[in-house]
């Protein structure tokens, strides 16, 4: 007969759930508020969301490192805390972008904000666990919300984007499930710490290697899709093009941070187990990703699409750091994303403020390069800020991403992968071309049309967001030190 189960509240360590609960409750509150009064303005929801996220942030910050909770399903280690913090910060920057001076479809739904908060909760679950089940459920919660958020932009392109993302996501989910099944079959467990223990004992069994490699491949396919690694990146440019600019900026950061955390857990485990094959594969994919994305970005006519490829390329860059599987490499991932977050969100916010409902410059694109021709004459400050973002993305010092880049490259050098650092360098040089192209259009060309209100969508909150992103981009040199030492501390504390 079954024994009654005694569970003490203390052993559950419920505080580990606090951040996600805040987000979930927040989402529910928004839904309820909408039920009570349909006429509430979006600004209320925006502010409410920010407030909730701030509380969430605080709750996350308060978590102790290396704690487990709730039957060890929850894992609050260093990377889970920093990734949650980064997710929340990115969300706080993202959400005010809803307050445009023009009305866009998705923000007319209070559900948008609820789904947004649920998505954050999903990501938080995803990063705060080493249980493949919870990771899967969290991932799907977040993904399903994200598909919806994309579709809510409500125009043909965004539906197309949502469908593509969704379909490929479903395929990736199948691979994830299959991979987990193999892992489960190999170890009888879906908890990574346990998996690692068992796998370590089974490494030398004959004939098993194919299953171990296979499990890594199946999982890799799923995460390569999420991280948009070549050749699983094909969705990214189209989805980025179809979605609204701020959401693209968000998508290029937050889901990837979450996916990277899980990748660190999973693939780091494999590499630690001595499956060198995984490292090689990751490196090859990383190099292919950054190179292919770069050369494809060269030929883009649209800034947003170019930035999409650029984001893919950056992801490849970071994947290389992951493959190193050193503390520095892992630190580099987070440092890179912390810096990339501001710059990239800033850049997409700049696109957002220039967004028109009618495509005046091209039949297809919202943000063709030609739209920005002579931007300096129309909006000098805007052009300068955009140029700063581009320079930062290109890795020109002292702007933020430069520090991320050298940290990644240094990590590569430290692990003896000098060729990798050289490849990264060359790729940065190629990448500089397309960033420069925008600068050239903005600064060196004459406006295509006589007078055009580029800053069509500008509003005070957007200005604040952009201003903040600018300061973070330009002043990176002053906060890199505390950031690095915090990240390094957190990561090494949790043993990565």
């Amino acid at each position: 007969m079954l024994q009654p189960i005694n569970v003490s509240l203390e052993s559950l360590n419920l505080v580990t759930l606090a951040p996600m609960l805040i987000a979930i409750v927040g989402g529910l509150v928004i839904l309820i508020l909408d039920l009570i009064n349909e006429k509430l303005h979006k600004s209320l929801y925006v502010m409410l969301t920010i407030l909730l996220l701030v509380v969430d942030f605080g709750a996350t910050l308060g978590l102790g490192v290396n704690e487990r909770g709730f039957f060890d399903v929850m894992l609050i280690d260093g990377i889970s805390i920093i990734s949650q913090l980064m997710i929340i910060v990115a969300s706080i920057i993202f959400i005010p972008l809803a307050l445009t001076s023009k009305r866009f479809h998705e923000y007319s739904y209070p559900e948008f904000f609820a789904l947004f908060l649920f998505m954050i909760a999903g990501f938080q679950f995803m990063v705060a666990s080493d249980n493949l089940i919870l990771i899967f459920v969290g991932l799907e919660t977040a993904s399903l919300s994200l598909y919806t958020l994309i579709a809510l932009h409500n125009r043909a392109n965004s539906f197309e984007a949502a469908v593509k993302y969704f379909t490929m996501g479903a395929l990736a989910a199948a691979f994830y499930a299959m991979g987990s099944a193999v892992v489960y079959g190999l170890t009888g467990s879906v908890e990574l710490y346990k998996v690692a223990e068992v796998l370590a004992t089974r490494m030398n069994e004959t004939g098993l290697m194919i299953a171990i490699f296979g499990s890594s491949v199946l999982l890799l396919v799923a995460f390569a899709f999420k991280l948009s690694l070549f050749p699983f990146h094909t969705w990214a440019p189209d989805v980025y093009e179809g979605a609204a600019a701020p959401l693209v900026g968000y998508m290029s950061v937050v889901p990837k941070i979450a996916a990277f955390v899980v990748s660190i857990r999973i693939f780091g485990m494999y590499i630690d187990l001595g499956v060198e094959w995984v490292r090689v594969t990751l490196l090859v994919m990383a190099v292919l990703t950054m190179t292919m994305a770069n050369i494809m970005a060269l030929v883009q006519e649209d800034v947003k699409r170019m930035l999409a490829y650029s984001s893919i390329s950056h992801a490849g860059f970071i994947m290389a750091a992951l493959a190193l599987d050193t503390t520095e490499g892992t630190t580099a991932i987070f440092l890179y994303y912390a810096l990339f977050m501001f710059t990239n969100l800033g850049a997409f916010a700049m696109l957002w403020i220039s967004r028109r409902k009618k495509k005046a410059f091209s039949n297809r694109y919202d943000h063709p390069y030609s739209k920005f021709a002579g931007f300096i004459k129309i909006m000098p400050v805007g052009a300068t800020i955009m140029a700063l973002f581009m320079l930062s993305l290109a890795g020109v010092p002292p702007f933020s991403l430069f520090w991320g880049k050298i940290y990644v490259m240094q990590a590569a050098v430290n692990s003896g992968y000098i060729w990798l650092a050289v490849v990264m360098g060359l790729n940065s040089a190629i990448a500089a071309y397309y960033y420069l192209k925008l600068i050239v259009y903005m600064f060196l060309m004459e406006p295509v049309k006589k007078v055009d209100v580029i800053y069509y969508n500008l509003s005070k909150p957007l200005m604040v967001v952009i201003g903040f992103a600018t300061i973070a981009t330009v002043g990176a040199i002053f906060y890199v030190q505390p950031l690095v030492s915090y990240l390094y501390y957190m990561i090494s504390a949790s043993g990565y």
């Binding site: 010092p397 050298i406 360098g425 500089a432 420069l436 600064f443 690095v484 030492s485």
Partner: protein
């Protein structure tokens, strides 16, 4: 004023920021004033510089990212001091003589930022800070070429940017690797060049690292075959852009060799003497010949810059005080002379809106003052004794003779083929009858133009006749560096070569 270097670096930047507020009409005066103050500050630096001290002076050090070994670390020695002063001077004079009126405010602000980066490169003692300013200097230059340049300006500016950028990224990998080795040996992260100097690296590492740094520097110099961005950049840039590009930005590359490659990789440097010398000789002869074939005056001077940079490179790898000091001096000399020549070409361009040689002829009769100053600069450019151009070239060739007489002879042909293209353009521009109607009514130099050139003429002659005040501090620092390299060298060949090169066998 212990922090004079910081002031030097950031004064123009702050002035540039404040410049956004200054009214468009007054921007030019504002710029000139700021540049003048900056120049005076640099002079003050010289005055308070202790010429007998060969080490770093006015050192400032603030840790920025201690976990990563990056610190704000500045200092100046005899090698960098004068390049610094020249950069300030050329910016000032370039601004005074500037004829641009379109978007003048943007130009002034850009120039001031550019000045910051130039100052920064030459005073940085932390590799990352060096790299920071190094890369940052591309941006204002890109804008200057791209916004005020000729028809191909965008192509030229993008080419300039990407080419240099690509090279320096490889250099960055090299820097990171040095830092890694330093960390491995000492357990401390540091990007301070002075710390790196203490590293004694295995020869194989030295060679690889030398190669990595070489890419960054060689493209900037620019060395053959990486030079093709330069003619475009110069050909398309507005006058002020060409002046600063030639006078200061190119020097960053050669300065890099002196500051990084030599003291950090003495053995590799010694081993690379022959390849570098061969490239330098190709630069000297080949580009001089290409210069001769040009149809555009500015292109001639652009290619001549490459040729002259070949001399500078050769001197750096002479591995003796004569050669290296000569090289550093030649950097100054080339800066001033080519800067002046570009200004002169700009002046005629302002009048005729063409730089094609065929359009001119007989200008000496129409514009005598212009012809005289052009003539003086030309003579300095071909290295006439008692002009600034001779001292450096002479010392470089003299120094390199110690390494290889045959190569010196080949490199020495620069004095012949330099004269060929220079005299040819001079003849075609200034001599003969005035055939083109448009040239008959040209006005001679305006007072502003004259007065912006006179100081350069004065310097050209002063330093040609009495280079000692400049040469001595340079020489002191170079000698100290050579001592150091000799101590540090690990291969026998390098040690011997540096010892032998360090002092001649007088009377032996």
């Amino acid at each position: 004023m212990d922090n004079i270097l910081s002031i030097l670096v950031f004064f123009p930047a702050i002035a540039g920021l404040l410049g956004f507020i200054v009214d468009k009409e007054s921007a030019r005066v504002y710029g000139i004033t700021v540049a003048a103050i900056e120049f005076l500050l640099s002079i003050w630096l010289w005055v308070s510089f202790d010429a007998s001290n060969a080490g770093m002076q006015f050192v400032e050090m603030i840790p920025l990212i201690p976990d990563f070994g990056v610190s704000y670390y500045l200092g100046v020695d005899g090698i960098s001091l004068f390049i610094l002063i020249m950069a300030a001077l050329m910016t000032l004079i370039g601004m005074i003589s500037m004829s641009i009126t379109e978007n003048i405010k943007n130009m002034i602000i850009t120039l001031l930022f550019l000045e910051m980066t130039m100052m920064g490169v030459f005073v940085a003692l932390d590799a990352i800070i060096f790299y920071l300013f190094w890369e940052l200097s591309l941006v204002p230059m890109l804008y200057i070429i791209g916004a005020w340049g000729g028809n191909l300006r965008i192509y030229a500016s993008v080419k300039f940017f990407l080419y240099t950028f690509a090279g320096s990224l490889i250099m960055l990998v090299g820097m990171l690797f040095v830092a890694y080795i330093y960390h491995n040996l000492t357990g401390v992260w540091s990007f301070a060049i002075t710390d790196w100097y203490a590293l004694v690296l295995p020869v194989e590492y030295q060679l690889w690292l030398f190669g990595a740094f070489f890419f960054g520097f060689a493209i900037k110099v620019p060395m053959f075959p990486f030079h093709t961005w330069l003619p475009y950049a110069h050909g398309q840039a507005p006058t002020i852009g060409s002046v600063i590009l030639a006078a200061v930005l190119l020097k960053m590359g050669t300065y890099g060799f002196v500051r990084f490659s030599l003291p950090m990789f003495p053995d590799a440097s010694v081993m690379m003497i022959t390849p570098i010398a061969v490239i330098s000789i190709i630069m000297i002869i080949y580009t001089a010949m290409v210069a001769y074939a040009q149809k555009d005056i500015k292109q001639v001077i652009a290619y001549s810059s490459v040729s002259h940079m070949g001399i500078i490179m050769l001197g750096i790898f002479a591995m003796n005080a004569e050669g290296i000091s000569g090289s550093v001096f030649q950097m100054l000399s080339h800066g001033i002379v080519s800067g002046a020549l570009f200004m002169l070409v700009g002046m005629i361009y302002d009048r005729r809106h063409t730089k094609m040689l065929d359009e001119f002829g007989g200008l000496a009769a129409v514009m005598p003052k212009y012809a005289v100053i052009f003539g003086i600069m030309l003579m300095a450019s071909v290295g006439l004794p008692l002009t600034i151009g001779f001292v450096g070239e002479f010392l470089v060739l003299l120094g390199f003779y110690q390494i290889s007489p045959v190569m010196t002879l080949l490199a020495g042909t620069s004095i012949i083929i330099g004269a060929i293209y220079m005299l040819t353009i001079y003849k075609r521009t200034f001599f003969g009858p005035v055939t083109n109607e448009a040239n008959k009514v040209l006005k001679d130099l305006t007072p502003t133009e004259t007065w912006s050139l006179i100081p350069l003429v004065a310097i050209v002659i002063w330093l040609g006749v009495y280079p000692k005040p400049v040469l001595e501090p340079i020489d002191n620092s170079v000698k100290a560096m050579l001592e150091f390299m000799d101590e540090k060298a690990i291969t026998k060949e390098a040690k011997e070569l540096i010892i032998v090169a360090k002092s001649n066998q007088g009377g032996a």
